[in-house]
């Protein structure tokens, strides 16, 4: 057995023992999630090491049902008294809870087992081998590349490199036992430039991957960070107007993230989403296809089974602009009279709720540059600020910065404006999608254009 397999087995054994003890103590259903992680993170600033942090951690989450009364407990204290408190508290709290007719584990026939799980290639042993010195060298190189790129880079918020390794196990009294492991490496560079009027401009760029070999070169990350920072120098407001808005892939991902929150079954039965009663209706322009795919190899949100033990599968959420399904766990599915989409996610603290895995807006064949060239007058948004979104109504209004698009070319930098439009209309007004999709993030989108939004400025 490899080291990681041994770790996984130890977690399965611990989880099994806690589940058995909870059942003995009076639980009708018991589910234990056990995690074991370690990480190294380093930060440099102005060419000197600023932080080296290294630690491992373990955690145990328990969820119990007594009848249909639910409670969950969590502890980082894995000692015998710690485990005892975990189990006793769970049972005490379950007896305080009130019976919920929809609560309960999935039917045992729905549970998956090892032979069905795909290898999603999310673990790379070489990531856990990265030493503090090696990590520092990456961060130093990234920051140096940012300074070397342009003399107007005069300061730095620093550069960080992090590696992490995690192993987890899920054991349920319904008969599920599974474990999962993954690694992650990331680098971020955050340079600062002086702008006119004593203002400073801070920008950043990053790379992250499951496998060490997939990580972008640190110098390239630093250069791109510098390029983005310099490009924002001299940014100004624009006059208040209606105009076309092109979201670059980072900004587009953030829009897709808002949609993700509204398509989860929990938001639907709580009536906390503008997408209530919208399955089968148009929710985006026909250029838009959105898929939740937990089975993408090496992707950040991949999982072979969901947080309740169901076999993961691909869900088509939006097809040609029409909403095909919500994303649901067992509880939400029962509330809505539907079937689980195997989208359950279990938090370390023991709660279960539906979540996206890798939510992807499908790329088209047009390049980003072609899309910009095809835009006569518009705003190219590279970053957004603030939390101006109301999921219940879909009202969206956020601060934005980026560039003016004039006659098909990126022109002056823009900041301190807000862009507003109801999300329902925003997605329906998408009139161009680019081909620049990547899977650095669990929610991923290519660049897209919205035909018209309200910009508030000077």
């Amino acid at each position: 057995m490899s080291e990681v397999e041994e770790d996984a087995q130890a977690l399965v054994d611990l989880g099994r023992s806690v589940v058995e003890r909870a059942i003995e103590a009076g639980a009708d259903v018991a589910e234990a999630g056990v995690h074991n992680g370690s990480h190294l993170s380093v930060k440099v600033r102005m060419h000197e090491p600023e932080l080296v942090e290294e630690a491992g951690s373990r955690a145990l989450g328990l969820r119990v049902l007594v009848g249909q009364r639910v409670a969950s407990t969590y502890t980082s204290d894995l000692s015998e008294p710690g485990q005892r408190t975990l189990i006793e508290d769970a049972l005490e709290l379950a007896r305080l809870s009130e019976s919920d007719e929809f609560a309960g584990p999935p039917d045992p026939s729905e549970l998956s087992s090892e032979s069905q799980w795909q290898d999603l290639d999310t673990f790379d042993e070489s990531v856990s081998q990265i030493s503090a010195d090696e990590a520092l060298e990456h961060a130093l190189r990234g920051e140096r590349a940012a300074f070397d790129f342009d003399p107007r880079i005069t300061n730095s918020e620093g550069a960080s490199f992090t590696r992490a390794r995690g192993v987890s196990a899920l054991i349920t009294s319904g008969g599920f036992a599974g474990s999962d492991h993954g690694t992650f490496a990331s680098i971020v560079v955050n340079p600062v430039a002086d702008d006119e009027g004593g203002k400073k401009r801070s920008g950043y760029h990053w790379s992250a991957s499951r496998h060490y070999a997939d990580l972008e070169d640190s110098a390239a990350v630093g250069e791109e960070a510098a390029r983005r920072t310099i490009a924002q120098l001299g940014a100004k407001k624009l006059p208040t107007q209606e105009l076309a808005v092109v979201f670059d892939k980072d900004a587009a991902r953030s829009i897709l993230g808002l949609f993700a929150g509204c398509v989860l079954g929990g938001a639907i039965w709580r009536k906390s989403s503008y997408l209530v009663d919208r399955v089968g209706t148009r929710v985006a322009s026909d250029l838009v296809d959105i898929v939740d795919d937990p089975l993408l190899p090496r992707a950040p949100g991949s999982r072979a089974f969901d947080g309740e033990g169901l076999l993961s599968h691909r869900n088509v959420v939006v097809q040609n602009g029409v909403l095909k399904t919500y994303l649901m766990d067992t509880y939400c599915a029962r509330k809505l009279g539907l079937r689980s989409t195997a989208s359950a996610s279990r938090s370390p603290a023991g709660g279960i709720s539906p979540s996206t895995s890798n939510l992807v807006l499908k790329a088209s064949s047009q390049s980003r540059d072609e899309l910009i060239a095809d835009t006569k007058h518009g705003l190219y948004v590279t970053s957004m600020m603030g939390f101006g979104f109301n999921a219940v109504t879909g009202d969206f209004s956020r601060g934005a910065s980026g560039f003016l698009i004039q006659d098909g070319e990126l022109a002056d930098p823009v900041s301190e404006v807000t862009i507003s439009l109801n999300l329902d209309q925003l997605l329906q007004r998408i009139d161009a999608v680019a081909d620049d999709l990547d899977h650095r993030t669990a929610i991923a989108s290519p660049t897209f254009r919205v035909s018209s939004m309200t910009l508030a400025g000077s």
Partner: protein
């Protein structure tokens, strides 16, 4: 000793940490030649209850504990932590953190002793020690009141969170300090429906207090507030877009100050010269009406602390006085850099994180104007009553805030409710444009959590009615703007 949850490292715990153990660990931490080391022992227990569809649907509790060891050498920090208090585990953490200073010489032996801390939490019985039924009853009362308030209320979600965080800090300067920080937070959210129109409303509060909190701010009162907000929003119209006068309501609006000014005054950004307030102490940075303080000593407030997470005893820090920048909020590292004393702003999310300068209760003090006069002075603008949250770019002070409740002001009168209002601006510009301050200073009820570099800490805010001349309002109605 009463109560159910106690730290293993406390006096009667299973792994009591005394001065002797602290000294041994600190020596190990400095064994490679570090300049400074500290130990942060933490034991925290939190509970939460969710009342939903007229039942107590779930109850949760979590225990988290460990030791964080920090070693500093020049500007470099070594950090490591462990999650059990066996000496071997703690020793390994100390040795790992010590590596940052590899190659140096160990310091002379040191001695630590306990500091006396003030007591700022008016709590007779910690919420976690109160039987669950009592908390369930509070949630039921809120639910019932919200449902009874109006037939258009279609959903009610009530939540209650309670925690206690026991900390023990020892550092190589010889200080040891202890604190036990209780905290509660109540929240209620309703959805009202009228025809096809659906709107949410919410209300919440709490602080470092016990369940006595609900004697003044009753569950019924919160229900009324949330329902009123949702019903008002059902009639809300599209917000105007463009520059106009903005009046901020007292209390809650302090979050704008927290974001727009507070973060830029945290000393780490100024040490690194990445804040727009860098090198500007003594300069006018706001209208002369403005005095801004950060005060950890407010009794029972969500942001209050007896001891910070570096073992310092926090004081009231005057940040801006009469518009002039007086100083920054310091942690140990930045205080060393600026040649001043740490003033109790070193905070961290947990033992898993290193401390940095953070706010506690950040407040813009009251002025001379009556709130009615402030509104009356506005020809066309926005009255900001409740905030949903905000964000700031520290490097230049640009900020964005979204309102959950805002109104149009026309000819000196508050008229129609507005939906989807964002306020966008620049911290220093907004502070220079403060033209009136009410005499109605209020501290916000305890709901705010501040995030910085991935670490969350509870904070308080406060302010009077504030008039800011000309701010960008991000709405959708161009023609009206």
């Amino acid at each position: 000793m009463t109560g159910r949850y106690h730290a293993p490292f406390s006096e009667h715990g299973s792994h009591t940490v005394d001065a002797d153990i602290a000294q041994r660990l600190l020596r190990l931490a400095l064994d490679k030649g570090g300049d400074y080391a500290d130990l942060f022992f933490e034991y925290s227990v939190s509970g939460s209850y969710a009342y939903d569809e007229q039942i107590l649907k779930s109850a949760r509790r979590a225990v988290s504990m460990g030791l964080g060891v920090r070693v500093m050498k020049g500007d470099a920090t070594g950090y490591a932590y462990c999650e059990d208090f066996s000496f071997d585990a703690m020793k390994r953490a100390a040795e790992t953190a010590a590596q940052i200073a590899a190659g140096g010489k160990p310091l002379a032996p040191l001695e630590v002793s306990m500091r006396d801390a003030p007591s700022r939490y008016p709590v007779s019985v910690e919420s976690l020690d109160v039987e669950g039924e009592a908390k369930k009853a509070i949630l039921e009362r809120a639910d019932r009141a919200a449902r009874a308030a109006d037939p258009r209320v279609v959903r009610v979600d009530v939540s209650f969170a309670e925690s206690v965080r026991e900390i023990l800090i020892a550092n190589s300067l010889g200080h040891m300090a202890h604190d036990r920080q209780p905290l509660i937070r109540f929240g209620l959210r309703v959805i009202a429906e009228d025809g096809g129109n659906r709107q949410a409303g919410s209300s919440g509060g709490g602080g470092r207090v016990g369940l006595e909190y609900f004697e003044d701010q009753t569950p019924e009162w919160h229900a009324e507030q949330a329902v009123r907000q949702a019903l008002v929003m059902l009639d809300a119209r599209e917000a105007p877009a463009g520059e106009m006068d903005v009046v901020l309501a007292p209390g809650d609006s302090g979050i704008l100050l927290h974001e727009a000014v507070g973060h830029g005054l945290e000393a780490d950004f100024n040490r690194k010269k990445t804040s727009n307030y860098s090198n500007r102490v003594g300069e006018g940075v706001a209208s002369e009406l403005c005095t801004v303080v950060d005060d950890a000593s407010l009794r029972g407030s969500r942001g209050s602390i007896n001891v910070d997470d570096e073992g310092q005893l926090p004081v009231r820090s005057v940040l801006i006085e009469g518009g002039v920048l007086k100083g920054y909020m310091q942690d140990r590292h930045s205080a060393d850099f600026f040649g001043t004393t740490p003033d109790g702003h070193g905070r961290r999310q947990s033992f898993r994180s290193h401390p940095m300068p953070r706010m506690t209760n950040t407040m813009l003090l009251g002025g001379q104007d009556s709130p009615e006069d402030v509104i009356r002075s506005v020809k066309r603008g926005v009255y900001a009553k409740k905030f949903g949250g905000g964000q700031v770019d520290i490097s230049n002070g640009d900020f964005v805030f979204s309102l959950t409740e805002g109104y149009l002001v026309e000819d000196g009168k508050i008229t129609a409710p507005l939906k989807g209002v964002n306020l966008i601006g620049n911290g220093p510009d907004a502070m220079r444009n403060v033209v009136m301050l009410g005499h109605d200073f209020e501290v916000s009820d305890g709901i705010w959590t501040c995030g910085k570099e991935g670490q969350s800490v509870p904070v308080g805010v406060g302010c009077p009615t504030i008039k800011i001349a000309s701010m960008t309002v991000g709405g959708t109605q161009v023609a009206g703007g």
